[in-house]
Amino acid sequence: MKRRQLLASAAALGAMSLAIPAFAQDEKLKVGFIYVGPVGDGGWTYQHDLGRQAIEAEYGDKIETTFIESVPEGADAERALTQLALAGNKLIFATSFGFMDAVVNVAAKFPDVKFEHATGYKRADNVATYDARFYEGRAVIGTIAGRMTKSNKIGYIGSFPIPEVIQGINSAYIHAKKVNPDVEMKVVWVYSWFDPAKEADAAAALIAEGVDVFMQHTDSTAPLAKAQEAGALGFGQASDMANFAPSPRISSIIDNWAPYYIKRVGAALDGSWKSEGTWAGIGDGEVVIGEITETVPAEVKAEAEALRDQIASGAYHPFTGPLKKADGSDWLAEGAVASDEELSGMNFFVEGITAQIPQ
């Protein structure tokens, strides 16, 4: 008797679970995200998740969002993307450079699903790319770093030696050098986007070499915690990281993805979505300079804000000649500015940076 009841209830359960998808057949647009780190990283992934929350707030019950966090770059990304596509997501955002090939592969298998890949360069009919001109922000914080260093040694914690990161290092160095000709740039690559212990060790290594102001292109707040302990200065990266203000965090580069996400989801909803490459900067509000704290003297703050406004209005491009490459060869002539194409393939340091790019 008991067994029969069990079987009956199991059958009922089965029927129920079969019934659920039928209820779910409505016109909601399902939007999926894969993140390279946890949403609680306080940096890069956190900002993308704020973008996801912004589209939920904007479109309410017209859409439904899901995310998969801490997806490793590589084969596992294909699994995660496939999973999202099979679950009925029609617009999928992949928010790390290393997801590029996985996105292209999965997109080929799901032609009716729209994909958006952050910071990549491979597009297809159903794959759009989007990026932010982080180097514009680097110019501003590089200026602050050049002014604030007492040891004339500034540091940079790099993730992977890819164009996006190299642009930032060059831009920061050029503008630090402009305000402080004696400045020297030290670069450490950690080969990870998110590894708090290693990022903290990298910060400690820079500090041990005499660096007193550093920037980072990794996702956690660990370097700032290290800076605080050692009395060095740093900047919020990707997110404002305001709980380290006013010192060691003296300013920040904030990635504001919400406007872009709202625009693209809107386009997917009204059917006007098409594959394109977007590269927006300070002027578009996608790169935001966080509050410059009172640790920074007023005249330095004014100088940095003036540079920010010049970049925003388009009056000044952070890569304006004359500039030479680190090997001494000419790159940009007097007054010439780098093209987007050159920037997106940047694989060299500018003159003055003695560190090598690992090959």
Binding site: G40, V187, A197, A200, A202, V211, S220, Q228
Partner: protein, 295 residues
């Protein structure tokens, strides 16, 4: 070129988390249990330690709490493998995932909070680093010079024989698992309290897996674990320091050096076993096998 007086303390601090975790796992494996849940126990310890340190303002209390929390989650594994006789590999992997998820869930409230400062101990290194170092001879002595250590090794080498001699195999193993959990918890807490100085989800970032590799590298000996931890920690710190000093180093090559060394050690040990018939691979005879008393 690189100041050794700053390099060596950095190396010792960087290797402390994996030293604790690997010493704990050494005891577990010497008792014949393979617990792949080190990463999960570490992250639980990282959170519990951090939360306690923040709540009490005392980082050392944080380490105590981390040890308790690590041991507590390891009891899930002990229940599965020692009482219910579940597969150890699967249970260990499950423990890792469970720990990562559990810590992420409860860690939300601790994001963005800073750890209380830890006063430096001798040579500018805090007391936990020295505790880790002191654990190495202590564990060596326990394993090789004490009767309980002998029983633990016996249980790991041949659990049927140990059972025949009247030793409580499953109780010994449960105790070893608890110790391993406590050590992994302390190692994890060292990352959150002493290295990163805050809680971040997923912050152990694979340290538990390195600890497992180190136990193999050590050939299941305590001094070998220390050597392995310093090698892994040392390479990480050294390559960062070399880069910061502006030396062009092949980062990828240097980063894979400890793994290459592990493979090399394994090859050398098994070759010695083959050709000299002397001491062979130090892996305990009953490693990874569940024990079920038939009589």
């Amino acid at each position: 070129m690189i100041d050794l007086t700053t390099l060596i303390p950095m190396l010792m601090a960087a290797s402390t988390p994996i030293l604790f975790a690997a010493l704990g796992e050494l005891i577990v494996e010497r008792a014949g249990v393979l617990n792949l849940g080190v990463e999960g126990m570490m992250i639980v310890g990282a959170l519990a330690g951090f939360a306690t340190a923040v709540a009490t303002g005392n980082p050392y209390l944080g380490f105590v709490a981390a040890a308790v929390a690590g041991a507590a989650v390891s009891m899930v594994f002990a229940l599965l493998t020692q009482v219910l006789l579940a597969n150890q590999v699967a249970s260990g992997l499950a423990l890792t995932m469970f720990g990562l998820g559990l810590a992420a869930l409860f860690g939300k409230a601790y994001e963005g909070i800073k750890a209380p400062a830890m006063g430096p101990g001798p040579l500018g290194l805090n007391w936990i680093v020295w505790l880790g170092l002191a654990s190495v001879p202590a564990i060596w002595w326990f394993l090789n010079r004490t009767r309980p250590g002998l029983i633990l090794r016996g249980v790991g080498e041949n659990h049927d024989a140990a059972h025949g001699l009247g030793h409580p195999v499953r109780r010994v193993r449960t105790g070893a698992i608890a110790f391993g959990g406590a050590m992994a918890g302390i190692g994890g807490a060292f990352i959150s309290i002493a290295i990163v100085l805050q809680w971040t989800e997923g912050m152990t970032a694979g340290a538990g897996w390195i600890a497992l590799a180190i136990v193999v590298f050590s050939n299941w000996t305590a001094p070998g674990v220390l050597a392995g931890a310093w090698l892994f920690g040392g390479v990480t710190v050294l390559q960062l320091r070399l880069q910061a000093a502006g030396v062009a180093v092949p980062v990828q090559l240097l980063s894979m050096a400890p793994y290459l060394a592990t493979i090399l050690v394994l090859v050398l040990i098994s070759a010695r076993q083959k050709f000299s018939r002397r001491a062979g691979l130090g892996a305990p005879g009953s490693l990874g096998q569940n024990f079920h008393a038939l009589r």
